[in-house]
């Protein structure tokens, strides 16, 4: 693998450049966030080709609707990853996708998708997979359902037959656990 130099800007610089629709902004945006977004997309759709299409759709949508992003409503990445997740979840819920994978029980386990792909992994990824495995099973299931499977918390409560409040607190506990790990 050849080590390539990537463009990196501060979040403020990037936002200014994106508003001016400069090419350098698109390049920086791609270099800074494509791998993070692709990691989320591919875990949702579990298919490399489809994930590449969705990454493209995601970037086009980010680019074209950037005027609707406002920094005081949250981080740039939060806004972008939700675009990526919504497009991906819409895709796996669409008719033609369901036909495509008919009779094939999707395994949305985070570790299984990592096992099926052995290209271009970052070595430090292993630590995080360990971490996700270290979450309590009930925390991991909810993070999986909501984050990667696109369940709303209402659907997750229904699916797991757990009160809504419990779903919310377990999701909070899961994210708190991650926060503790990253700090």
């Amino acid at each position: 693998m050849t080590k390539k130099r990537k463009i990196s800007l501060s979040e403020e610089e990037l936002i200014v450049a994106l508003r001016q629709r400069e090419k350098v902004a698109a390049e920086a945006l791609y270099d800074m966030y494509s791998a993070s977004l692709f990691g989320v997309i591919i875990r949702i759709v579990q298919n490399n080709e489809l994930a590449e299409d969705l990454l493209q759709e995601t970037f086009v949508k980010i680019w074209n609707s950037f005027s609707s992003y406002s920094p005081d409503k949250g981080r740039l990445f939060t806004w972008m990853v939700n675009i990526a997740r919504n497009l991906s979840i819409d895709k796996i819920r669409s008719k033609d996708f369901k036909n495509q994978v008919k009779n094939h029980e999707l395994d949305l386990n985070v570790t299984s998708i990592d096992a099926s792909r052995n290209t271009s992994y970052k070595p430090e990824l292993l630590g995080v997979k360990d971490l996700v495995d270290k979450l309590r099973p009930e925390q991991k299931i909810i993070l999986d359902l909501v984050y990667f499977k696109g369940y709303t918390h209402l659907e997750a409560a229904d699916e797991l037959s757990i009160p809504l409040g419990t779903i919310k607190t377990r999701l909070r506990m899961a994210i708190l656990q991650l926060r503790k790990y990253f700090n």
Partner: protein, 343 residues
Amino acid sequence: MEDIKLYIESGILELYVLGDLNPAERLEVEDMARNYPEVQKELNEIAATMEQFAVENAIEPHDNLRSEILGQLEYTRTNPIASQQATTDAKVVSLQPARQTNFYKYAFAASVALFLVSLVALFNTYNKLQESRQQLVSLQQQNQSFANRVNFQENQLNQYKQQLSNKANTLVPGADSVRSSGNNEQQLIALQQQNQNFSKRLALQAGELKNSKKKLAVLESQSNNIVSILSDSTSRFIRLKGLPFSPKSNLMVAWNPEKNQLWINKRASTLPANDPEHQYQLWAITKLKPVSLGVFDITKKDSILQKMTSVEGATAFAVTLEPRGGSEKPTLKQMVVMGIAHK
């Protein structure tokens, strides 16, 4: 407060970050974030965690995808050089100008900051130097006036001596005429008395002269001490600043821990004069405990400097107003000035 804590712990902020709320709920969260900084802070931390989570789980897409996707986007402004080179070697080119401007920006900011800091330091040092100079000058003036007084006393003494010898001279020829004139005896007695008076006055003057010399010697040794403390690089000058009890007061302390000497500059101080029932007491804070360094008065006719007890390892100095004679422990609510004994 308690409600905010419950609100944060309900998990609604996590759902907001994950985009799992309806528009009404979203508006509510945004409203809360605007009104409560702790809600905003929690939101930021959740968002940062989820971004970190994505970064740690990142998977690099295929290399070809970059130009494919970047080719799909419409640009309003294109840097011709950057885009031209981008087709041949996209990643290397456009980075350098961006990084360099960044570097120079930071380098410039850093040097400006450094310049400002040194300007402030220079200004402080200059002020201290000025203060020391003023102290020296007023000391020299005091010295001079004492020397003048001593000279004056000496002149007076000489005059008295001369007068005395004159009287003695007139006394001797008078003695010759005693035999011839009987009432000369009375004159002689009067003269002897006068002589005695003069001797007494002379003795008095000599005593005064001695006292003046002593005072001068004390002053000279003080002055030498001051000069040595001022010119010693291990000396520290601490400005004690006014506290709410007496906000406009201040007091300079010159402290040489090496030589174990400590002086206060009373003339430059703006402490109000104390009444006869009270005295100011100087304290050092060492190892978090107050140690008394002695009491002093502020009157209209103060000498410039007063030597106080020195102390080792003081972290701060303070002055309180105490009953005459000082107290064992400082009366904190009557603390007038305080200063940190920084190095």
